[in-house]
Amino acid sequence: MQVQDRKVGDILIVQPLEKRIDASVATEFKGKMVDWINAGNTKIILNLANVDFIDSSGLGSIVSSLKTIGDNGELLISCIQETVMGLFRLTRMNRVFQIFPSEEEAINALSK
């Protein structure tokens, strides 16, 4: 699974370059996120602009990443597509994650 990572100050932006986060890549994706967290990244924005499909396994890998970072940092989501947002609402994960329409708004939230 191809995922782009870049730094904006002390914030790590993680952006999947593929359209799907599903059961076939969930373990790999979770592993990458855990590696970034264990490397000391405590402010992470997951930019989902390219992602048009997430299944429950993909969602579970994102939840797992949030649990890994726990109280030691923050994991925000930005640029989520409306269809994928439907999954977050259906599973009530929209109440678990801080979700921002744009990457800039997420960066501003983490910079306060």
């Binding site: 059961a23 299944d55 579970g60 649990k67 259906l90």
Partner: protein, 147 residues
């Protein structure tokens, strides 16, 4: 869409590999596009079929490749029916799933077990039957038209 349209059926046979499941998703999207369903409805239907096929691969076949998952998609003017069949280990019990958790308590937020809840939430009817050799999850979604 006229109600008198006779049902049409398409069948797929998929090898039990998770990396193959997106192909079924593409097929569901294509059929939903043909039926002029909305993007959100299309996503939910694709999601349910993907969840059901994932369950068959992971649980019935223990993620072992080389087995078949059969997917029947039947559609008419009234709605769509999806039949997902495997010949592996059957589910012990099948019933409506709940997803109760405190969103403020991160450690109780589920990472697994959401697939059947999603299916139950999206579909109008869900049944599971096993004849000992073949297990089939049947999911029905009716079209709701505004007059």
């Amino acid at each position: 869409m006229p109600d008198i349209q006779p049902p049409k059926k398409i069948t797929f046979l998929l090898d039990s590999r998770l990396e193959n499941v997106s192909l079924v998703g593409v097929a569901v999207r294509g059929i939903c596009s043909y039926l002029s369903l909305s993007e959100v409805d299309t996503y939910y239907l694709e999601l349910c079929v993907v969840e059901a096929v994932n369950n068959a691969i992971k649980h019935a076949y223990n993620s072992e490749a080389g087995h078949s998952v059969e997917i029947n998609i039947i559609y008419s003017g009234k709605g769509m029916t999806f039949e997902i069949s495997d010949r592996g280990r059957k589910m012990d019990t099948y019933g409506p799933r709940r997803l109760d958790f405190d969103a403020q308590d991160l450690f109780v937020v589920p990472e697994h077990g959401m697939g059947l809840y999603i299916i139950d939430s999206v579909m109008d009817e869900v049944t599971y039957r096993s004849d000992g050799a073949k297990n089939t999850l049947t999911m029905r979604k009716y079209f709701h038209y505004k007059n």
